[in-house]
Symmetry: C2
Subunit: 145 residues, 2 copies
DNA sequence: TTCAATTTAATCGTGTACGATTTAATCTTA
DNA sequence: TAAGATTAAATCGTACACGATTAAATTGAA
């Protein structure tokens, strides 16, 4: 009558674990490029839309400046991107991809796609998971107003 | 023909985001108890089985000593648990719940359950997600041998 | 027009998380 | 049984991640 609370039964833990697995899997692919998994997500966001402010990037990735500022600095040091303070509004800092990021895009995304393919995830399963995770997220976001 | 690579289409990002949402949701519940979300997971593991070695705890949570050692130290400082070096094998360190952790168990788990309930997650959806996440994890684990 | 509210990033402190190395204890095997 | 292999935990260095605070620029209302 008591132990409903076990790790294996917790959805939160399943998500936590899966996120960890993705992190490890992607890291192994990205390491040769000198990229971490979160840094790769930044690149994906910028490949999608270049020249965004830190705020906008943060909204896309659900990250605050406490995380982004140092991460962007590291990526700048590694020539992935460049920061530029806006002339029009000096509070804003825009982030632009560097040549290296554009040049390596195809190589990196191909390698990543290759590894994901090799996991044999059915398209149907993939899409259903995406949908369910989104519904779940929305419910949690609503919950905390 | 090109931009299949967008954040919103990436399963890895959906999982990453969802994990973040869980973290924030749980944190808001746990903060009054002076617990972080990962620390709560440690408690769940110990409520399930008390008196385990650091290694065993790490296997259950998918965490290494680089993460666990300092975390356990903090939880020890906050009277949630106690460390004890094994007499039989002095390499091993066993972890035991303290009174505080046993006493607060019901209060904590009730509060957590309450918040999760309020998210209105259907049982069917919950179980399907669990199942799919597990299959996904297994595929990724297999992939990296 | 000025000064208080807001916005944007940077900074700070704490807490995971991971791979690699180190140290100490135990086990193996020649 | 002594040396080498293995195991367990601690330690180290790096990199997120978050909430709170700070500092500077902009906006807006009296």
């Amino acid at each position: 009558m008591e132990d409903f609370v076990t790790l294996k039964k917790q959805l939160c833990f399943a998500v936590y674990e899966t996120a960890g697995e993705f992190n490890k899997l992607y890291s192994s692919v990205l390491q040769p490029f000198g990229l971490t998994y979160p840094q790769y997500l930044v690149l994906v966001a910028l490949w999608e839309k270049d020249g965004v402010s830190v705020k906008e990037l943060g909204e896309k990735l659900n990250l605050g400046t406490g995380t982004l500022t140092p991460m962007v600095a590291r990526m700048e040091a590694n020539d992935w991107l460049r920061k530029e303070r806006s002339k029009a509004d000096e509070r804003k800092v825009f982030i632009y991809l560097e040549e290296k990021a554009r040049a390596e895009k195809l190589t990196i995304t191909s390698k990543v796609a290759e590894v994901i393919q090799s996991c044999q995830i059915e398209l149907e399963e993939y899409e259903q998971l995406m949908k369910q995770l989104n519904t779940l997220q929305n419910k949690m976001k609503e919950r905390r107003l």
